[in-house]
């Protein structure tokens, strides 16, 4: 975090232009509806054009990593929910994957399928609410967001009946999941998934060729493919810039090699492409869900040999990463043989995706900053940790 300039006269002098005009320093946030949480951007404006933008973090910092070092391995599992609080189940999976790799735990077949089903449902509701929020940021107040939230609500109901919580699911365990699917859950989920493409069609009909949407988003916030790879930006943003890198295809973690789905790619890397990539990814997620719910076998939902109490992995280290809805979510763990991790590191996609925020916003209007930030899809719980 950085403090404001204390001397107003000196600050004013540094903002004077040669032609006698004056630049304006605006502090967007931390309490601003468009920043999606307590996030601040120190923006210097020339008229309405952005000439400088510095993101300022830390308002939600609670040193997640330090807390996890004082906690047992399993004790950190519910806390991972609070990172990206829209996608608690994928956070659980990334952490479980790292610990399983560290301790050499096998995951039974049925648990793998349950993981894929819940993770793809998470992706659906994250992307649905993101496109809703993006429309809201653009000024399409209320209606698109409520349409998206209507669909998200159905998925959250599924999560609630499965895990007991709508958002803080705390569902996965090392070697499987916490509970088996309740009776009738799968049928209910099939109904929700079957109805989902209808919502997407409706959404696309209303918005994809909407003139205002196109005028606001096309050619805005472009990141070239070379820069986006170098800046480590992952997830839908990366693919919107035309780079084919999806960890579900590259790492094939879990059982993603068994499903047929495509990786949508964008051409321009602007806000419109990022919006479209999310719509297309939802369609692919529906395909994965249909296959997974068709093929899910009977069997144990967790590895019975994995110790729950007194769990001490042998000394060593492991990095586990998954394709979370926002990008590559990784956990890096170092074990010294004790019940607590010696080092617990989260690789937060939301934070790293903001690396080139300034480049995206330079020479754009201040109103574009709002939608560019909206298209990045950040959650402050993960940015600040």
């Amino acid at each position: 975090m950085s403090t404001l300039t204390l001397d107003p006269i000196a600050a004013k002098a540094s903002l004077l232009k040669k032609d006698g005009g004056q630049l304006l320093e605006v502090s967007m946030g931390p309490q601003h509806p468009s920043t999606h949480g307590v996030f601040r951007m120190d923006v210097v404006l020339d008229g309405e054009n952005v000439v400088k933008l510095k993101p300022i973090f830390g308002y939600l910092h609670r040193n997640h990593e330090k807390i996890a070092e004082d906690e047992t391995y399993l004790g950190s599992m519910p806390y991972t929910d609070r990172l990206d609080y829209f996608c608690s189940i994928t956070n659980n999976w990334a952490y479980a994957l790292a610990v399983e790799s560290l301790a050499g735990i096998e995951v039974p077949e049925r648990a793998q399928y349950i993981r894929v089903i819940t993770a793809e449902l998470t992706r659906l509701q994250n992307h649905a609410s993101l496109v809703g929020f993006l429309m809201q940021d653009m000024g399409a107040s209320g209606t698109p967001l409520m349409y998206a939230f209507r669909e998200r609500e159905k998925i959250l109901d599924l999560f609630e009946s499965l895990t007991g919580a709508r958002m803080m699911c705390n569902y996965m365990r090392f070697g499987g999941c916490r509970v088996d699917l309740p009776t009738g859950w799968l049928d209910q989920a099939k109904k929700v998934v079957a109805a989902f493409p209808k919502f997407l069609d409706e959404f696309e009909n209303l918005l994809v060729s909407n003139e205002i949407l196109m005028a606001r988003t096309q050619g805005v916030g472009i990141i070239p493919a070379e820069l986006i790879v170098n800046a480590g930006i992952t997830g839908p943003l990366l693919r919107a810039s035309g780079v084919n890198y999806d960890l579900r295809k590259v790492d094939k973690y879990g059982i993603y090699d068994r499903f047929t789905f495509r990786v949508p790619l964008g051409d321009h890397g602007d806000v419109y492409d990022r919006y479209m990539i999310r719509i297309l990814e939802m369609r692919e997620s529906v395909k994965i869900l249909e296959q997974a719910m068709r093929d899910i076998p009977e069997g144990p939902f967790t590895d019975p040999k994995t110790k729950v109490r007194n769990f001490r992995p042998k000394p060593g280290e492991a990095y586990g990463r998954i394709e979370a809805p926002k990008g590559e979510l990784g956990f890096y763990l170092i074990s010294d043989g004790s019940p607590n991790p010696y080092r617990y590191r989260v690789r937060p996609p939301s934070l790293i995706n903001l690396t080139v925020l300034e480049e995206m916003c330079l020479n754009r209007n201040i109103a574009d900053v709002v939608i560019i930030l909206g298209s990045v899809d950040i959650v402050m719980g993960e940015v600040d940790r």
């Binding site: 950085s2 040193n63 800046a231 990095y319 990784g330 080092r343």
Partner: protein
Amino acid sequence: MTLEPLKAELEANIPGCQLEIVNNPSPSGQHSLLIDPGHALAIALYLRDAAHLRFDYLSNVTGVDWPSRELSEKIKVKKIVDGPDGPVEKEVDEVVKTQTHAHLEVVYHLYSMALKHGPVILRMRTEDRADRVHLPSFTPIWRSADFQEREIFDLYGILFDGHPDLRRILMWDEFEDFPMRRDYVEPDDYEYEPTAHDDVLKKTIAHYTGETPGGAA
């Protein structure tokens, strides 16, 4: 990716670089390469630009604190002990205590998006934990290191030479300690963080000096 051929290749192409493979005994089998800070930039550039490697994507940068730990080892020593019939040679257990070298460490996870392989894990170590904590920054090579190195500077106190904008990122600018270090002690009160507002500033001064603000009782 096996590290032995990579190590040989790097040694052949970058004269004078010192590399060491750090074994990882866990089932994950992710071994890493300890590189010397003097040749770090040359190694990083080679990894990024060599046509068959092309590690264009620096995924994760992690700081680790390794304070000095005491290792005790039991060894058998032959000693001359006074027995009932004069001095006798006898085997005695003796505990030898050694201190590990205190240092800070940075771990880099590299992947290739172009060739879809990885990870190659690099480690760099500082000389100690006190004042020789300089390491070269990878931000000029991979922009993704930007915020992550700032975070490590903020929470561990490693100084990255060549970083374009090395400021605190999560803690406030006036904060002095490094919270992720293993020996960090929390202050008695986080509430009175200095801000630009005068009242709070006065209260903070009063809190740390024991004086009452404004001279009133």
